[in-house]
């Protein structure tokens, strides 16, 4: 019990003293996560939207594949990306292994299906609600799609936040492809794993507190958006 309290105190001192090492790790974590979330949103939101408001052959099969990909084990993704980017792998010549870039690639593979599927669910509920109205007023496809996205803007923010939450807490894949190299690929989650194994509990705890605060902040923001802007009766939820 004493050790936990001591670690907590040391962790708070580290945070309050703006410890360089801690903030370097924090900066890289945010950089990788934000870039990954942006790329995943650029890929996932349009795919989810198209799957929700168009009808074509194999659509259901593609939806099933994306939903299955939501449950991809991160370590398997890490291993897969490692094999591709390792020296003997297909893209080994790029020399990206153990770099933030490859960590972003792994993150994108993990969170794109999540953003895509959540977007699909959000847009589809609006599509089913608006479809007949749009047809009766001869609203074109492009205008309709723009309306679906605009009218689900608050839900899409929560979708992106869900992707952010998943991405920032990721450890399995990025420790494999990033290698947890100090000052280069060390992020919050990999640092916590390493510092705990080394017995440096204060840094691990400091990072853990920050990670926890981020998770709380993201969830609180999602709940705030839902309560403030989304009326359940208007969403058909």
């Amino acid at each position: 019990m004493g050790q936990i309290t001591e670690s907590f105190l040391e962790a708070f001192i580290l945070i309050l003293s703006l410890d360089t090492e801690l903030f370097e790790i924090l900066y890289l974590s945010f950089e990788i996560t934000i870039v990954a979330v942006i790329i995943s949103s650029i890929i996932g939101i349009p795919i989810g939207t198209i799957l929700a408001c168009t009808r074509f052959y194999f659509r259901k099969a593609i939806i099933s594949i994306f939903f299955s990909l939501m449950g991809l084990p991160p370590v398997v993704v890490g291993l897969f990306v490692y094999l591709i980017f390792s020296r003997s792998g297909t893209l080994g010549w790029l020399g990206l292994l153990y770099s933030p870039t490859v960590m972003i690639i792994a993150q994108v593979i993990i969170i794109t299906p999540i953003i895509c599927c959540l977007t699909f669910q959000t847009i589809e509920s609006l599509y089913l609600k608006y479809r007949e109205f749009f047809l009766s007023f001869h609203i074109g496809k492009v205008k309709a799609i723009r309306a679906y996205i605009f009218d689900s803007r608050f839900e899409l923010v929560t979708v992106i936040l869900a992707g952010f939450g998943r991405s920032i807490s990721e450890v399995g894949a990025i420790i494999i492809v990033g290698g947890n190299i100090d000052h280069l690929t060390r992020v919050m989650t990999t640092a916590i794993a390493l510092e705990t194994s080394k017995g440096n509990l204060s840094l691990a705890m400091g990072l853990g507190i920050i990670l926890l605060l981020i998770a709380v902040f993201v969830n609180a923001t999602m709940i705030f958006i839902k309560n403030k802007f989304l009326n359940p009766s208007d969403q058909g939820l």
Partner: protein
């Protein structure tokens, strides 16, 4: 100003799902002017009839002809019982259905907002309106497109009397200026107030199409007589 429209010819349209006819071999020649009220119990086929007219549903066979390119169902607008309200302001909801918004259309939208008793709510989020106000907004949105034919599926069901009065007033005015109106309702008194002619539907078949005063005075079919006097219930007609 009153415009004389050509009549609407419905030739043997049918609509079925899994072999069950929801509307069967309907043949009618409907006046191109005035308000045609469609009466019938729940599940009789009134909404199917309206959706077939609007083109939202495609008839299995038969055809609907309006006799003029200008006066066609391509130039129609529909208002449903449950208004679909977009998550934006009242004004944006109305202007949404237009392809390119012209300045005079913005003025027209403001006038519609005032006419339908929504003054001062132009920039208010449409989701915050009451059920009746939402339905009035839905009607304003239909009217901004200046439809030649207006299709309304129980627009006043479950809304307060004030909204019903606003809607009825606007419909009467539109009808007198040449807009053909199809109006589905369960309210016999409302049908009496609004209708120029009546279509009575039962079990997917049009049993009667007559002048409103004739229909309410002396309906041809026994079933229509029973419906007016409230003897026919939804359960009876559905079975």
């Amino acid at each position: 100003m009153f415009k004389e429209n050509p009549s609407i010819n419905i030739r043997d349209i049918s609509y079925s799902i899994d072999g069950k006819y929801l509307l069967n071999k309907t043949r009618l020649k409907i006046s191109g002017n005035g308000i045609t009220v469609v009466l019938g119990a729940n599940g009789a086929g009134k909404t199917i009839f309206l959706k077939l007219l609007s083109g939202l549903l495609k008839a299995g066979n038969g055809e609907i002809k309006t006799g003029s390119k200008d006066f066609s169902f391509r130039n129609s607008a529909m208002v449903s019982q449950e208004p679909i309200i977009l998550r934006r302001s009242v004004m944006s909801n109305i202007l949404f259905v237009l392809n390119k918004v012209q300045p005079h259309q913005k003025i027209m939208a403001s006038e519609l907002i005032d006419t339908l008793g929504l003054s001062g709510k132009n920039n208010q989020s449409a989701l915050t309106l009451s059920a009746g106000e939402k339905q009035r907004l839905s009607l304003a949105r239909a009217l901004i497109t200046q439809p030649r034919i207006l299709l309304l599926d129980e627009p006043t069901a479950n809304i307060e009397p004030t909204s019903t009065i606003y809607i009825e007033k606007v419909l009467a005015k539109k009808s007198s200026s040449g807009t053909k109106i199809f109006f589905v309702t369960h309210d016999i008194n409302q049908a009496k107030r609004l209708a120029n002619d009546i279509i009575y539907v039962e079990n997917g078949k049009v049993l009667e199409y007559t002048n409103s005063s004739v229909f309410f005075k002396k309906p041809i079919t026994v079933n229509a007589q029973k419906y007016i006097s409230g003897i026919i219930s939804d359960a009876q007609t559905n079975n």
